[in-house]
């Protein structure tokens, strides 16, 4: 028989999970790119990889403290955004999509190759970079919490840090989008030529948006790897597609959408895959193996992306008038 309590508990854990926080943060960055500015960035996984490796390499190879390593990750992602933006921000949206996905793959291949194995660990990735971040943990050792939400001091510290970043990023996004800068950004999404006619330097504004969203992405990459190891195969294009699914689910041009979207996405996905796996174990789905059950969730995400775009492009919180893809 299926252990429903455990299944529900596992799903509920996703609400606070650092993975959810990382996806929420990355989706917020994407909301700035895609939702508010209309930039079709398909390389968010690349920004996350740069953040993660920037943090990991500067800690392990150069012995930086955690805050300096964090700044390195952010700095690298700003440079990446500038390199990406210069050739592509003047081009049509689908060109930007192809270039960003290619650039993210280039970054991943550089981290995977054996050529730089002493810095990147090639396909095995990196671990053991948590020391300095663990030292500043103000929580005394022990286990805290209730029910499924019982974690040790490091797990709580990662969760507080990750969700703290999400809240700060959300406040920044909310404030910015109410400012004159935000109005220009949204204007670019609606009609680039009209904004240009008002004397604004569209290229410059797009670049700022690309950098800001990219910084959110790199921070998300760091939150993503703090509870585990850095593995290059985690940063495949599928990661970006998952973030798009979250963004479309929550609503692309909203502040709350990416955050609630990430929580709903992970709770639902965890419940679904947990349920199918258990149903296979108890023999409810005799035509399926447990490995096949694991692949169902990816098929589901693909179908959800299609259905959302076709039937509810504004997502849960979005306004139909504020669609990222007007053209």
């Amino acid at each position: 028989m299926i252990d429903w309590i455990q299944l529900l508990g596992n799903s509920a854990q996703q609400i606070l999970s650092p993975v959810t926080a990382a996806y929420a943060l990355a989706a917020l960055g994407l909301a700035i790119h895609f939702g508010y500015t209309g930039l079709l960035n398909f390389g968010q996984a690349g920004f996350m990889a740069l953040g993660a490796y920037g943090y990991g390499i500067s800690t392990l190879t150069f012995g930086f403290p955690w805050w300096a390593a964090l700044l390195v990750g952010v700095g690298v992602s700003i440079i990446f955004a500038l390199i990406l933006g210069v050739p592509t921000l003047r081009l049509r949206a689908d060109y930007l999509a192809i270039v960003t996905i290619a650039a993210a793959e280039i970054a991943r291949l550089f981290f995977t190759t054996n050529t730089f194995v002493q810095y990147t660990g090639s396909a095995n990735g990196l671990q053991g970079y948590k020391g300095s971040f663990e030292e500043v943990n103000p929580i005394p050792p022990g286990r805290y919490g209730f029910g499924p939400f019982t974690y040790n001091e490091y797990d709580w510290w990662v969760r507080i840090f990750g969700w703290g970043l999400v809240i700060i990023a959300a406040l920044i996004t909310w404030r910015l989008m109410k400012s004159p800068w935000g109005r220009v950004i949204k204007g670019i999404r609606e009609d680039e030529d009209a904004v240009r006619a008002l004397g604004k330097n569209v290229y410059f504004y797009k670049m700022q948006a690309l950098v800001l969203g990219g910084v959110f992405g790199s921070l998300a990459g760091m939150v993503f790897v703090l509870p585990r190891a850095i593995v290059p195969s985690n940063f495949q294009p599928t990661l970006t597609f998952f973030i798009y699914a979250i963004l479309l689910l929550g609503g692309a041009a909203t502040v709350l959408g990416p955050i609630v979207g990430a929580i709903v996405f992970w709770v639902a996905l965890s419940f679904f895959s947990g349920f199918v796996a258990r149903a296979v174990e108890v023999g409810w789905l005799p035509f399926m193996s447990t490995v096949q059950a694991g692949q169902l969730q990816f098929i589901l995400v693909g179908i959800v992306i299609m259905l959302l775009v076709i039937f509810r492009p504004q997502g849960m919180f979005g306004n139909k008038k504020e669609l990222a893809f007007v053209k």
Partner: protein, 442 residues
């Protein structure tokens, strides 16, 4: 949106491409050659038998040495670990050729030939015995390496690159035609590529049909799949007036769902098509096998047929007219929907054929094989000019040659990086691509 004709307009491109290639080669030549991306234990869990060994120099283990094992049903490579060990799983109790890549050995070190008769001591045969495993070790010491000359290597790579470029062209032309006529950047094109190869796998290996018949049915199914894609999804979406960007995101969802649906049915491992790993078919002509030559010949014939269709037939002219300006084409009495339907059938068939050739080139059929070349396909299409069929052809051959030739100077596991960098550099210098017209990028 604007659409361009497929006529070549530029005389500048040879110089431009030469500059780009020179620029890129000099940029990547700084990186030293290194072993390809592989682990020390390859395919152990999936296979019943294994070939293994230890690479040592005077008793000290050598790490990072590339070993390849080729034979019935297996073609894999492993990199020795810190203890100098490697192991590759093989599916049959048979004889396999084990090769040690001498370029991965330290400077001045080579595989020593003890008998003095073997011209290539770095390659030897190993027969899996009754124990289910065999050890293949090499005598390593200071000495001269058995290397192919540089000219031979360049020609080897040239043919490989041409072969890859031609199969890429089949895939890219379909993508480009669909883009030209409907404006859709179809990420799910990768799944049409994998579909052809997977159908051939099902028909020829699982159902054991004769190969020519299986290929024919697989191609017909691929064309039907292309038609079904349009009829079931894209045509209704065009009717609803869904924009191009949402359609592109829909194609990403379709690609994701399709890819994992393939994995759901055929699993995560790589399977071989008939004759894909038979060494008996080698011709000795620059490492080409009969399959390579057949693959190139098929690709060239099909590409010529596509060119004839586009340039000489009424329907081909109609296709180019729709690419140029759908509204004007409709006004001049062309049935745009019919043209788009035919383009999708062609795209499906071409992608399926490209997928089959890609499965023989890699070699192997796997669930994500289409996605592996999707970005290279986009690179080829953008390089040639989005929406232009002949641009896609030229772009593909350049990308194919570039990918294979670049392994002469950079690590093999970085070979796709070069092509993706070309993509970005082209957009920087000439965003409309080699044959594209400037208005397209608006």
């Amino acid at each position: 949106m604007a659409h361009a004709a497929t006529t070549p307009t530029s005389r500048r491109w040879p110089r431009l491409v030469a500059t780009l290639l020179a620029l890129l080669f000099s940029a990547v030549a700084l990186m030293s050659a290194a072993p390809a991306h592989a682990a020390s234990q390859v395919g152990i869990d999936e296979n019943d038998y294994r070939v293994s060994g230890i690479v040592r120099l005077d008793g000290d283990p050598l790490e990072g040495i590339r070993i390849t094992v080729e034979g019935p049903g297996q073609s894999a490579e492993a990199i020795t670990n810190a203890e100098g060990r490697w192991a590759i799983g093989v599916p049959e109790r048979d004889t396999y050729v084990v090769t040690l890549d001498e370029s991965t050995l330290p400077e001045g070190i080579a595989v020593v030939d003890e008998t003095g008769e073997d011209e290539t001591p770095n390659s030897r045969e190993a027969t899996v015995g009754p124990s289910g495993s065999v050890v293949a070790n090499f005598f390593i010491g200071e000495g001269e390496r058995a290397t192919t000359n540089v000219g031979g290597q360049i020609l080897d790579r040239l043919f490989l690159g041409l072969n890859f470029g031609l199969l890429l062209a089949l895939v890219a032309i379909g993508l480009s035609l669909v883009f030209g006529t409907t404006g859709l950047s179809n990420f799910a094109h990768a799944e049409l590529v994998a579909f052809g190869a997977i159908m051939l796998l099902v028909l020829s290996v699982f159902l054991e049909l004769p190969l020519p018949l299986a290929i024919l049915i697989a191609l017909l199914l691929s064309m039907a799949m292309g038609w079904a894609n349009d009829a079931a999804l894209w045509k209704p979406l065009r009717r609803r007036g869904v924009g191009l960007i949402p359609m592109m995101i829909v194609s990403i969802g379709l690609s994701l769902a399709g890819r994992y649906l393939y994995q759901f049915f055929i699993g995560g491992e790589t399977r071989q098509l008939p004759y894909a790993t038979t060494t008996a078919l080698n011709t000795g002509f620059y490492g080409l096998s009969v399959i390579d030559i057949a693959s190139m010949a098929i690709a060239i014939i099909v590409l010529l047929a596509v060119a004839f269709f586009l340039l000489r037939t009424r329907l081909g002219k109609a296709t180019r007219a729709v690419s140029d300006n759908p509204a004007l084409a409709a006004a001049s009495g062309i049935d745009v929907d019919r043209v788009i339907r035919i383009v999708w059938v062609m795209a499906g068939g071409l992608a399926g054929l490209g997928g089959i050739l890609w499965a023989y080139f890699r070699p192997g059929v796997s669930w994500d094989m289409g996605f592996q070349i999707l970005l290279l396909t986009f690179a080829a299409v953008v390089l040639g000019g989005l929406g232009t069929a002949f641009g896609a052809l030229i772009g593909s051959i350049i990308v194919g040659l570039f990918v294979e030739m670049s392994t002469l100077v950079i690590a093999a596991d970085m070979k796709y990086v070069g092509a993706l960098v070309v993509l970005i550099v082209v957009l920087l210098v000439r965003p409309q691509g080699i044959l594209g017209r400037k208005e397209r990028i608006g």
